[in-house]
Symmetry: C2
Subunit: 246 residues, 2 copies
DNA sequence: GATACCTTTCCGTTCAACGGAAGCCCGGTG
DNA sequence: CACCGGGCTTCCGTTGAACGGAAAGGTATC
């Protein structure tokens, strides 16, 4: 299956994640199913180029060059920089945990986050992925996703908490309302004690991201939060559109 | 020279930089000296894995997966997160542009930056590299670098402005003073109208980074800035040491 | 000093990668 | 409309780089 050299080399990088930031050569070989001899050579090349680095303790970690490259990715260089000041405003105005996310395949990918000093159990981390159907930002992204994506996502509504929506019909109805009303909400569907609201961020007509916040309870303040979110999302969209043509 | 497939694939990624965030297939082929047929195949694999992505306009850009990986790099995940609150404090206290940087080979690599709304001409960007001998953070990193690095760096003191120190003997003397006094300064050596101060950030005994600021003029406030920097650097070091063993 | 685990080096075989060339798809131009 | 130049994609026969098993070298553990 994974035959090509390139694919193998990339897979060696791919086994790193936030729980495994440092791996030994043999761990890498095991996790990728690469024979040791081969892994040794490939890792050597990756280190030479700067994609991996060797720690004093002998473990391998992701190298600085990858980090530098990552800064050039559009999510980072355009979306994130455009959104950053608005996230701060939003956080300042509400003191809730604020999220910026995009859809990547059938998952939500968190681009940025501003967390208040604890308060609500929040699962997301910058760069992490969560299912589309159990988060506020996820529902927004799903609501505006192409039909085939939505169809695929509905196939597989895994249960996370007792409140997670797992019936396709019910979720579809919710998504319809998201499009009608312009915002999505969740109530403890991803983690108990956490509710969320989210709105789309548009560049022109296209929905390119979602902006959301997590709070312990929605009832009283929903209108206020929605309008704060919409103002910020508007600002981000405007910034994106203006940066586009320089 | 660059024969191995892996090296070629990596080189394809390596030609992206902040001036060239989006490249077409044939640009990639030209810039790496790869025949088109080969480039096509390799780029295809990179896209399949998520290292590159194709924009609607047909150009290739760095993919989200690389960005995600970059977040796992130690510079980002340890240094940057440990330092972030202290950078904010420092910025709040002084309103000067604040920098965190490490040495990478014979260059300064900027890890984080907090810029005031214009004021002084600042060259650095997050993820960018500059020569070691012409910046405050660079001098600090050079002062505490291993002997062979320092020797190599002194070979090649390129002139940037009229004030850049280009005589090895003079720079060596400055570095001696940096070690003795615990901070480095520059006066318009990198860019006219900008002076800088910097101090080392230590993790235990080892100097792992440098913390600096850029201001229009140093004379009057030097002692105040140095002590603010030292307090912050101390804090960062403490945080690093405590995170180390979890 | 034996054990267990990791890393590094070596080398003959083989099959994946190579890249030249030919065809495709556009958009611009005479 | 026909032509042209550009970038993109596909194809295929040859070849040498990549493969991976095996064995030797390290280093902590019992």
């Amino acid at each position: 299956m994974a035959k090509s050299v390139t694919a193998r080399a990339l897979d060696l990088l791919g086994v790193f994640d936030s729980e495994h930031r440092s791996l030994t050569l043999s761990e890498l070989a095991r996790r990728t199913g690469t024979p040791l001899g081969t892994a040794h050579r490939l890792v050597g090349e990756l280190v030479r180029w700067g994609a991996l680095a060797r720690e004093p303790d002998g473990g391998y970690v992701i190298g600085r060059r990858i980090w530098q490259l990552g800064l050039l990715a559009p999510v980072q260089s355009e979306l994130r920089t455009a959104a950053s000041p608005f996230l701060h405003d939003l956080y300042g105005a509400t003191l809730a945990t604020v999220h910026l996310a995009v859809r990547d395949g059938l998952e939500v990918l968190y681009i940025d986050r501003l967390a208040g000093h604890v308060s609500v159990p929040v699962v997301s981390k910058i760069g992490s992925r969560l299912p589309l159907h159990a988060t506020g930002v996820g529902k927004v992204l799903l609501a505006y996703a192409p039909d085939d994506v939505r169809a695929n996502a509905l196939q597989n509504l895994t249960r996370v908490t007792a409140y997670t929506v797992t019936q396709p019909a019910r979720l579809l109805e919710q998504l319809r309302r998201v499009r009608a009303e312009g915002y999505a909400t969740t109530g403890e569907e991803m983690s108990l004690g956490a509710c969320s609201v989210a709105v789309p961020v548009r560049n022109g007509d296209a929905v390119v991201a979602a902006l959301g916040m997590v709070v312990p309870d929605l009832r009283r303040q929903l209108p206020r939060l929605v309008s704060a979110l919409q103002v910020a999302a508007q600002g981000i969209g405007r910034t994106l559109a203006s940066v586009q043509w320089k």
